[in-house]
Symmetry: C2
Subunit: 118 residues, 2 copies
DNA sequence: CCAGTATATTCGAATAATCGCATGTTTATC
DNA sequence: GATAAACATGCGATTATTCGAATATACTGG
């Protein structure tokens, strides 16, 4: 069972392991959107967006609802939004620790060597 | 900036998009472990484990600490554990909704058609 | 310095992900 | 039924992941 759970988790992660798909999920953050709107906001090829949406559907990350001509997408479970929020905080935490690291390194190395010395 | 953040998130997800690497992170959940212990518990090739550890290092998901002969790994930020916990709950939620879906389908289709009808 | 243990890296083959382009399918309108 | 709009799917090329096997590196004890 623990195996199936790991498999499941890794598939979710795989579903999100792409900047375009993350962008889609973030666009869906505040409610459903039609595929057309998503494509417009993403500024990518229609077919490409559709493929990414297919991946998100396959991993059960989003669900779709057809209304007449259009298909509306929404996030299946709010838990995933939580995950993105955690990572946002994590990102800024890492960022500031990296900045501090760089500052420290700068203090310790008096000659930063910009340009190409002979 | 939003772009860099998405890139960052997708790299974290990519780092976790593999059952073995999830297993590693879970083994590190309760504190640091040597590479050797991890390999032993995972039951995989040494080189393979080392490659996965390299991926986790590259994505900054784990940090390593060398003590004499051995290398101790630990999770860089507890936030990632939170993420895994959220997904565990998510998994069971999806599981039970899937089971309910199957039950419903079973009730609605009286002849489940096992075998190959002519 | 030599042998052994712990870990990392490199290489090659197999598989999977990504993209653009072309083509299908479904629905609405005339 | 013909045309157009909104999506989805299939295909081929390119690139990335994954794994095992072999090899390299770092440290320890003699």
């Amino acid at each position: 069972m623990a195996d199936a759970l790991r498999q499941f988790k890794s598939e979710i992660f795989q579903g999100l392991a792409n900047p375009t798909r993350i962008a889609i999920v973030e666009l869906l953050r505040d409610g459903e959107q039609s595929a057309g709107k998503l494509i417009e906001k993403l500024g990518i090829e229609q077919a490409n967006a559709s493929q990414h949406l297919a991946v998100l559907r396959a991993k059960q990350i989003v669900v779709s609802r057809k209304v007449g001509n259009q298909v509306y997408y929404s996030i299946r479970d709010h838990a995933l939004i939580e995950v993105l929020d955690i990572l946002r905080r994590y990102f800024y935490a890492q960022l500031s620790s990296t900045v501090n690291m760089l500052r420290k390194a700068a203090r310790e190395e008096p000659k930063p060597r910009t340009g190409t010395p002979r």
